[in-house]
Point group: C2
Amino acid sequence: MKVLIVEDDQFHASYLQDALAEALPEVTEIFRARNGIEGEEEARDGGIEAVVMDLQMEQRNGIEAARSIWTERPQSRILFWSNYADEAYLRGIARIVPEDSAYGYVLKTASRERLKLALRAVLVEGQIMVDRQIHRMQKHGAAPRSGLDDSEFSVLLDLALGLQDKMIAERRGMSLRTVQNRLLSLYEKLGVVSALDDELTLNKRVRALNRALVTRTLNIETLEAAHRDFEAWLARRK
Amino acid sequence: MKVLIVEDDQFHASYLQDALAEALPEVTEIFRARNGIEGEEEARDGGIEAVVMDLQMEQRNGIEAARSIWTERPQSRILFWSNYADEAYLRGIARIVPEDSAYGYVLKTASRERLKLALRAVLVEGQIMVDRQIHRMQKHGAAPRSGLDDSEFSVLLDLALGLQDKMIAERRGMSLRTVQNRLLSLYEKLGVVSALDDELTLNKRVRALNRALVTRTLNIETLEAAHRDFEAWLARRK
DNA sequence: AGAGATGTTGCGGGTTCCCGCAATCTCTCT
DNA sequence: AGAGAGATTGCGGGAACCCGCAACATCTCT
């Protein structure tokens, strides 16, 4: 059995390699990649179907790499292994998991035992295994911690890019007023108003982005990915 | 000689501990803290004047911890050790380094040799040692990569918090129109306009924050720290 | 079928933002 | 001292934003 480790931090990679060798004696070869792009290549060239994937990497992050790996081989088994329990990552992963593939999500703070368990459960047994702390965010597959629904979330992404109401309306196929209603509820749910001293009026749009970031509803990588998506949409629209 | 390691990642901490023992035989005791708050306490209680400090930590980050350590003991020697070469961190550090104290900045990607060198140079010899990749950002102590000057940078912080022009003017002691001029040049320098397809008008404030983040001029911790600063200012102002 | 909750849309107006124009102010250099 | 470059400030207006109000549209229970 061949396993690919995609991880840019050398300490974490070697710890992982250790745990892997220990937990899965059936592993014959361990490949290593340092970012998403290398990861995709290795997976393709090596015909690998078991991957342990870090999320936060330079260049091309784990979600994007996973997406293209799954596009080529939907049956690949991928264990995500990350420092953060950001909702932003969860949303990203939830969106790309193929119908019946095996995947897992383990935090780097998890114990060695739990990591080994997850390695076996996902890579060998083909099960789904998600850290409880992360899973708690998801209520039956949607509506994570912040309580944003999908349409609110996509408006948030557009807002975060700096799009104006009119453009958001066009992109998402809503009327202008509806977009504004979404913004209203975003401001509500993100705690834009209560955030600081009352008596104090803020620029709500900027504040919304700020709040989304500090609550980990968005992170910087999400912004970068959203930007790429938007450009693709722009080009397609013509 | 006593040394304090402030680092929340266990792998990194033990690697560091190893390197420390290897490079500095004169070290008799190694203390360990997992975040800024613990770090400050340990430093105070243990009477420690040699610290290796991670920057990105939950709760209270390395810059804030360093500030209060230096406030109590300006002669403390602190080696910052971080994953990122973000301008945001650089600015933070530059602002709090006492007149003649020793400090250093090493990236986690640096070789073990270079780390050991820095440990010796900063903690034992009391020199200043900054990674070249980081130092390149600084031109004689100011004006990092993005080319923002200090007044532009502080307006950027306020903008990022969601403050309105009027409030920024009050906080920074500028006229309203001057604030707006600063914003103008921020938009210019951050590439707010050219960013996407032209023909496309954006919400400049949000876009400015977005650009500041993806260019690493700001990061999320900066936002959190700026928020705390602002609240302190608010309270003081009355 | 009807009542009620929830979501969508248009209108209107008060605010804030963005920025051109022009009048100082401040500094530097000769 | 005086010229010139650059920053600071006020004014004014067009555009975008925020949001209350009210008319419908949809969905869900009973």
